[in-house]
């Protein structure tokens, strides 16, 4: 097969993903547009995403909807760089730098910084805290079954990820709620409900500055009183013979807070609801929980796709899916679409916990930025669903209240009864 290269046509695609209204709509509405784009124009040109933080500097952006092209972009970091930002709308450089640490770096610097913390997230290290996570999941479900009704997100989903990431860091318990709250703020700026009359930039700035402060205070705390935790290790770690600066460590704190909280939380909420909507799948899982939970979790994250998008920037002229991409242009990966690509998954809209192969993009499309916390997330999901399915069989969930935004697929609240 020879690749056809379309001449550069800078007309915007009529099926636009740019308006905020697109992201305020439902998953199903977006999927209809994505499906059309996957079939007809898998790499398409769009106006800059309607953002609220600053005026866009580009004329347009490339939107990538097929599974195969998302893999191609992810695995080719020399051409598709993260260093110029990974959010699909325009965010000021200062914010990227302070909030995203090695997520927005390329090459050796990315690798060195990632290595500093990645050792704490290997299967072996995570196995060491597995028991603690199990106990915590059990305690959370103790709390749940003692109630009759409430909000599932605050009662269950939010707690295990929050406990886990901050326990690893050694953050004092009385700081954790506040930190998790501001981690939410970092992904919620486009939501009117969260903003409550404030401008998006104010929400983001307050969340970021507060998280940086909590991180800086924690660094001082651990410097004065070292413990056997991730934070103490980070303070003493050296990259190329140099210690990290306090600013760099604070930025790590923000990255880990956001990555460790919102993603797993939303997977728990969305999966709890999926298991209710597909009772046959729940029954299948319960028939052999230990034997089926591992493949099931891959389906949980594919089906939920809590991280809907990330971006890269072309470092040189290139061709992707037959389109000519110019140096400096933005390439937006729609994981939400790639995870429903019928070329990669049979019956992609079906929640099927026994999919024989499940090469999903929920943790990214491979390459150097592939989710560092994926083992940790999987252990949390295993333990919380073990507890929920076995100990709260009468759990009934109501309608999820979704967050408006183009980054995480977040459930703000979801009522439950027992």
């Amino acid at each position: 097969m020879t690749a056809q290269v379309t001449e550069i046509e800078r007309t915007y695609d009529p099926v636009s993903v740019s308006p905020l209204a697109f992201w305020a709509g439902t998953w199903e509405q977006r999927e209809r547009s994505f499906k059309f784009l996957r079939d007809e124009r898998p790499v398409s040109w769009h106006p800059p995403l309607e953002g609220a933080l600053m005026p866009p500097e580009n004329d347009g952006v490339w939107v990538v909807t097929r599974h195969e092209h998302i893999l191609e972009v992810s695995k080719n970091p020399q051409v598709f760089s993260s260093a110029r930002g990974v959010m699909i709308e325009e965010v000021p450089d200062d914010i990227n730098e302070a909030a995203s640490s090695f997520l927005v770096m390329d090459g050796p610097r990315h690798l060195s910084l990632r290595r500093l913390v990645s050792s704490a997230f290997t299967p072996k290290q995570v196995a060491r805290i597995h028991d603690q996570i199990r106990r915590q999941a059990s305690a959370i479900v103790d709390g749940l079954v003692a109630t009759k009704e409430g909000d599932f997100v605050s009662q269950v989903s939010k707690r295990l990820p929050m406990w886990t990431i901050y326990e690893m860091m050694g953050l004092p318990e009385d700081q954790r709620e506040l930190a998790a709250h501001h981690a939410d703020g970092m992904v919620s700026w486009a939501d009117e409900d969260v903003a409550a009359g404030r401008e998006p930039g104010e929400v983001l700035s307050e969340a970021l500055v507060t998280l940086l402060q909590i991180g800086m205070e924690h660094t001082e705390r651990r410097r004065a009183e070292p413990k056997a935790d991730l934070w103490t290790n980070l303070i003493h770690a050296e990259v190329d013979g140099q210690r990290l600066t306090d600013d760099e460590i604070a930025s790590f704190f923000v990255l880990l807070s956001v990555a460790g909280n919102d993603t797993t939380r939303n997977t728990i909420s969305l999966t709890a609801r999926a298991l209710q909507d597909f009772p046959d799948q729940k029954a299948l899982l319960l028939q052999d929980f230990p034997g089926r939970i591992t493949p099931a979790i891959e389906e949980f994250v594919r089906y939920a796709t809590p991280v809907m998008t990330f971006r890269r920037t072309a470092t040189r002229d290139t061709v992707l899916g037959g389109q000519q991409i110019k140096e400096g242009e933005w390439v937006l990966m729609m994981y939400a679409s790639g995870n429903r690509d019928e070329r990669a998954f049979d019956d992609p809209d079906v929640f099927d916990i026994l999919r024989p192969t499940n090469n999903h993009l929920a943790f990214g499309g491979g390459g150097p930025h592939y989710c560092m916390g994926n083992f940790l997330a999987k252990i949390q999901l295993t333990e919380i669903f073990d507890q929920l399915l076995h100990r709260a069989p009468t759990l009934r969930l109501g309608e999820p209240e979704y967050l408006t935004g183009n980054f995480v697929r977040a459930v703000k609240s979801m009522p439950y009864t027992l």
Binding site: L53, P55, P92, A98, G201, L204, D247
Partner: protein, 133 residues
């Protein structure tokens, strides 16, 4: 080394905005922001008020109340306009305090970036290498 007195602060930091208003590309964009921004500096004490609507740079907010007030040491201001200070990190360390509308400052960010080289060039051509960070 740093700024000798308030007049110098106004000359250089205020000067950035005077140059910006005159720039055919940056000027209109700056005016479009409609912002009235006050800088309150210490060491030396000085105030610079930028009124994007009237395209003026002064030393007090006569008339329009500022939409945002940024307070910092003059040294921090000098480094900021050379692109050497990260705003959220500086705010977290209370090196820069912002009262009022932070969101409007974020919207200024892309313009700010374009002004850094202009500022550095001004310092250089005035022989003020001592102020270059």
């Amino acid at each position: 080394m740093g700024f000798a007195d308030a007049a110098e602060v106004r000359k250089y930091i205020g000067g950035i905005f005077e140059a910006a208003f005159e720039d055919p590309e940056i000027g209109p964009k700056l005016r479009d922001t409609g912002i009235v921004l006050q800088f309150t500096f210490t060491e030396p004490d000085s105030v610079v008020v930028v009124d994007a609507v009237k395209a003026t740079v002064g030393d007090s907010a006569d008339g329009a109340a500022p939409g945002a007030v940024m307070s910092m040491a003059a040294d921090t201001g000098n480094a900021y306009w050379q692109g050497k200070v990260n705003l959220p990190l500086a705010m977290a360390k209370s090196k820069i305090k912002v009262q009022g509308n932070v969101a409007s400052l974020l919207k200024l960010a892309p313009l700010g970036k374009q002004l850094f080289p202009v500022y550095i060039e001004t310092l250089r051509s005035d022989g003020r290498d001592d102020l270059i960070v």
